[in-house]
Amino acid sequence: MTPAADPPLAPLDRLRAEARAASWFAALGEPLVEGDLADAEAYADALDLGTLSIGQAHDWPEAERLLKSPDWSSAWWDREEALRRTLLRQAETLHGERELWTALTELTTDVGEFVHGKAATAASRMGDAAKASVHVAAGAASQAVYQLAVARMAGETASLFESKFRLFAAGRWPLGVVSTRLVLF
């Protein structure tokens, strides 16, 4: 007997469950451990921006300074955007634009509210976070879920968005590339 095929949007249901189970922002400011470094190196390799060292922000004010730093690497952001657009086109051909778009919007709405609460908890626990930074953290986390959702709906199982999501799932916040450093919070 042939097993029943997954419904077309099943990958999003699985991702929603993974997002619910993730340790969003739980390890911010904690010393980096071997697993964090391995995930960060996998993410850095997938970005393919040359050799990147791994750095760390230790508190919210330091994270805010880095995120507003004039020497942040737009190449990092552009690389992710280019990949997202390519994967989105692939996913749209597989699932239909309207159905895919609606499902992604509903997923990011659900997850966005959930991670916003987690970011607020982390900011409250650690102190010293600017009020808008909770929204920034929630924006970063829900963007990571959205990127991974697009990748999985495109049939990609080993994209750089998988390694980025693993960092968030482990309680970290990858702040991006500043100069030649990939910085984790």
Binding site: K68, W72, T109, G112, H116, A132, V136, G139, S142
Partner: protein, 235 residues
């Protein structure tokens, strides 16, 4: 004189007069469509123009909240029996004129958050005492986020006006977009508005809301040394 009614649930709406049901349906459709237009035309494209990761992710969050408002209004509409197609742009209702101009710069986005989201706040405020409680509750749920979006506009306005070049670019964006905003409140002799007020779905006339908006928009612009261009009022 119409008997005042309170509709506490979507289920109870079935027993409300037809005019009442149609009126709340129109409002839900209008909000669902405009929230989606705003997210698609302004918020999502603005992520690319944002100058730093901090601003980009903040804009991501704003875009997702606007998409979220669309989802929530659409979910309410579906519960009310409104077909989903009627709550999605391009399927009937014409967009407001402001949505016909594609976003070109970060300063334009900041001007829109500062002034267009203030107009949105006034629209939502008018629903905070709506007699259709599911709509009232949704307005109350979205209000903190709408206020945050307007604050976003203020925060980045404060950044931009620190330099003469930034202030000039922002003033140019205000000059371009502001003239479209007063018409956001509808015509002075709107039949829809008359019906909304008759049933206490909304509280104020379009002209009252427009006048309040002009006062508040002038206050916030003046606070940052900006001026609002003259606009022709909607008839």
């Amino acid at each position: 004189m119409t008997q005042p009614i309170i509709v506490k649930t979507v289920e109870e709406l079935k027993d409300a007069p037809e005019e009442y049901r149609e009126a709340v349906g129109k409002l839900v459709i209008s909000h669902a469509i405009n929230e989606l237009y705003g997210a698609q035309v302004f918020d999502e494209p603005a992520i690319a123009y944002a100058p730093t990761p901090y601003a980009k992710w903040l804009t991501c969050r704003v875009a997702m909240e606007e998409y979220g408002h669309h989802v929530r209004f659409k979910q309410l509409g579906v519960q009310m029996g409104i077909p989903e197609e009627r709550m999605i742009p391009g399927t009937g209702k014409r967009p407001l004129s402001i949505f016909e101009f594609p976003l070109k710069t970060w300063e334009e986005f900041v001007a829109i958050k500062l002034l267009a989201d203030l107009a949105e706040i006034l629209q939502v405020e008018d629903l905070l005492h709506c007699t259709f409680h599911p709509l009232r509750n949704l307005a109350r749920a979205t209000m903190p986020e709408e206020r945050f979006h307007a604050q976003f506009g203020e925060d980045f306005t404060a950044e931009l006006v620190k330099t003469p070049e930034g202030k000039a670019r922002l003033q140019a964006a205000v000059d371009e977009y502001f003239p479209y905003l007063p018409s956001f409140f509808g015509g002075s002799k709107s039949r829809n508005n008359e019906i909304f007020r008759k049933w206490n779905i909304k509280q104020r006339t379009n002209d009252e809301m427009r006048a309040d908006y002009m006062t508040r928009a002038t206050e916030v612009a003046t606070k940052y040394g900006l001026t609002l261009p003259e606009v022709r009022q909607a008839a």
